[in-house]
């Protein structure tokens, strides 16, 4: 039986040099975006989803756990940051901290519950938990139900950077994305990441070697949920609203789709996937529900014929790890 991370290139062949080069190219491309005339809002949105998908990918690609409820971290952090900025009038940096702490707390609670089952059950439990939160947010007053929290002030970060200026906002979002990306990169390449990979490949053996595998999985889940929350907090400054769509199961499905298209278990796949899917949504926005159908078709095609994803195929072709 092949595992869902079959495209993750085995560890020995990984060379840090390739990844450094790829990271340098990605950073350079993203740095010059404002000079090229590409709509910065689109890139900022894609960066938030890229970080979200990278966080999701940490869990499935390196921990072998498929979460079908990652929207709950995106939405929870979004609501909390939005509330902190608008109602409490906090500064952007404090607002982000509020959102990230909320997502971290949520990931601890849901992680302790979800980690009790594996595989397919884990996916169903995370989906059910996020649906539970969806109904909670639908009914609690602070989220303003169907309207969501709107017109959120962007404020001045650290008292220096005026986030209502698009160019400043762009570089702040980019910095946030790169920070999150590097945290994930560091985690994967740490002893912790190696143990995670060992658990993914052969859990009974990892147990026999004395690793408390549940604790490692829980830690990976918390890290993933917290970083997904960071993406949700950043997204508030871009979209200037927080609404129920961010907690809905369709959002969780979109996160899975982004990662699948880019390449499950690859380092750069989720970033590429985010740009592909967000661009597709932009161009097809006028087609109404056909966007859902197209997303479904992409799911089916990816699972049947394109399981490695864009980056996975490239890495496979060049026999490198990316």
């Amino acid at each position: 039986m092949t595992t869902i991370t079959e495209n993750a290139v085995p560890s020995p062949r990984r060379t840090v040099k390739d990844e450094m080069v790829a990271f340098a190219i990605m950073t350079a491309l993203l740095l010059v975006v404002p000079l090229t005339g590409v709509y910065p809002f689109f890139v900022m949105q894609a960066l938030c989803f890229a970080l979200l998908a990278c966080a999701f990918n940490l869990l499935i690609g390196y921990g072998g756990l498929l979460s079908f409820g990652h929207a709950m971290f995106l939405g929870t952090a979004g609501y909390c940051t939005a509330h902190a900025l608008k109602v409490w009038g906090l500064t952007p940096e404090l607002g982000i901290i509020v959102g990230v702490v909320a997502a971290a707390a949520l990931s601890v609670i849901t992680g302790l519950i979800a980690i009790r089952r594996q595989g397919i059950y884990f996916a169903m439990i995370t989906l059910a938990l996020s649906q539970l939160l969806f109904f909670v947010y639908l009914q609690t007053p602070f989220t303003h139900g169907e309207d969501g929290i709107q017109g959120i002030p962007q404020g001045i970060l650290f008292g220096l950077f005026n986030l209502s200026k698009p160019i400043t906002l762009y570089y702040v979002i980019l910095a946030g994305f790169l920070l999150g990306f590097l945290i994930i990169y560091r985690a994967i390449n740490s002893p912790f990441g190696e143990v995670l990979k060992a658990i993914r490949e052969n859990e009974p053996r990892a147990v026999s070697l004395g690793y408390k595998t549940d604790q490692y999985k829980l830690l990976a889940y918390i890290l993933s949920g917290t970083l997904a929350g960071f993406a949700g907090a950043l997204k508030v400054f871009v979209a200037q609203n927080a609404s129920l769509t961010d907690v809905h199961w369709t959002m969780s499905g979109e996160i899975v789709l982004i990662t699948l298209v880019g390449g499950l278990g690859t380092l750069f796949g989720p970033v590429v996937g985010a740009f592909v899917i967000i661009a597709m949504q932009q161009y097809l926005a006028g087609f109404g529900q056909w966007v859902t159908v197209i997303q479904g078709v992409i799911f089916v095609v990816c699972v049947l014929t394109f399981r490695r994803g864009v980056i996975g195929e490239i890495a496979h072709y060049f026999k490198r790890s990316l």
Binding site: M1, T2, T3, I4, L66, F68, I113, A114, R116, R117, Q118, G119, I120, Y121, A123, M124, I125, L127, A128, L129, Q131, L132, F135, V136, L138, Q139, W249, G253, V256, L260, G288, Q289, W290, V291, T292, V293, Q295, G296, V297, I298, F299, V300, C302, V303, L304, R307
Partner: protein, 291 residues
Amino acid sequence: MSINLQALSAQLLVGLINGSFYALLSLGLAVIFGMLNIINFAHGAVYMMGAFAAYFLLNIAGIGYWPALILAPLAVGLFGMVMERTMLKWIANLDHLYGLLLTFGLALIIQGVFQNYFGSSGLPYAIPDALKGGMNLGFMFLPIYRGWVVIFSLIVCIATWFLIERTRLGAYLRAATENPTLVRAFGINVPLMITLTYGLGVGLAALAGVLSAPINQVRPLMGADLIIVVFAVVVIGGMGSIMGSIITGFALGIIEGLTKYFYPEASNTVVFVLMVLVLLVKPSGLTGRAA
């Protein structure tokens, strides 16, 4: 706190009906999971297709409720078998999670197509003449159609249990679930059985859809949220036992109905909260084997 028996029994009936749907759907999920090792995310979408099939039969072909009760599950079951042969079959040797992703994609396609043509509002489907009206039971007024749905679902559930646990065909099925290679060696056509099993599971969901059409109206998204509740039901009950799925389905429907009466704010979430409690107390589910 004084209890209004009339209102309480009305909510209990709603709970029993929802429980019937949970039982039929989780039963199908369990049967499919046993043979194909996939969680059929498209289960909500085929439930919706069952309701639409009944609607089309009535409004295009003029075929009424009773024939639709058989024809709609057959048609949708056939559709399911085509899906199995053309798509699900190719990922049988891969990680279970790919099955979940593939059927999620199929659900998006099916629901998206129906939404394009029918929007999000509901289409009416009339209760058949023979089941119109109601009975006064003294403590409550029982609409006959609703009573029929509960009793008929129960019969179908028991029949399915009998088919799988007590017949020769069911014995092959259970054997193939345990060890498909060995069963094939005995000359039994396992791939055909897999296809038929998927058809059976999907057909059960479609039947639930037909039953719900006169109660809940026919809507493209009628199965989208329902399937997530059914997932929670499956996590609570476990997928190891057919009878377990049936009992859990009905029991959770009743608990949901009671919640609607005693604390309506929590009626949307009570099944999920129960799932959390069960996971904390007995992680392997009430009847399930650990997975």
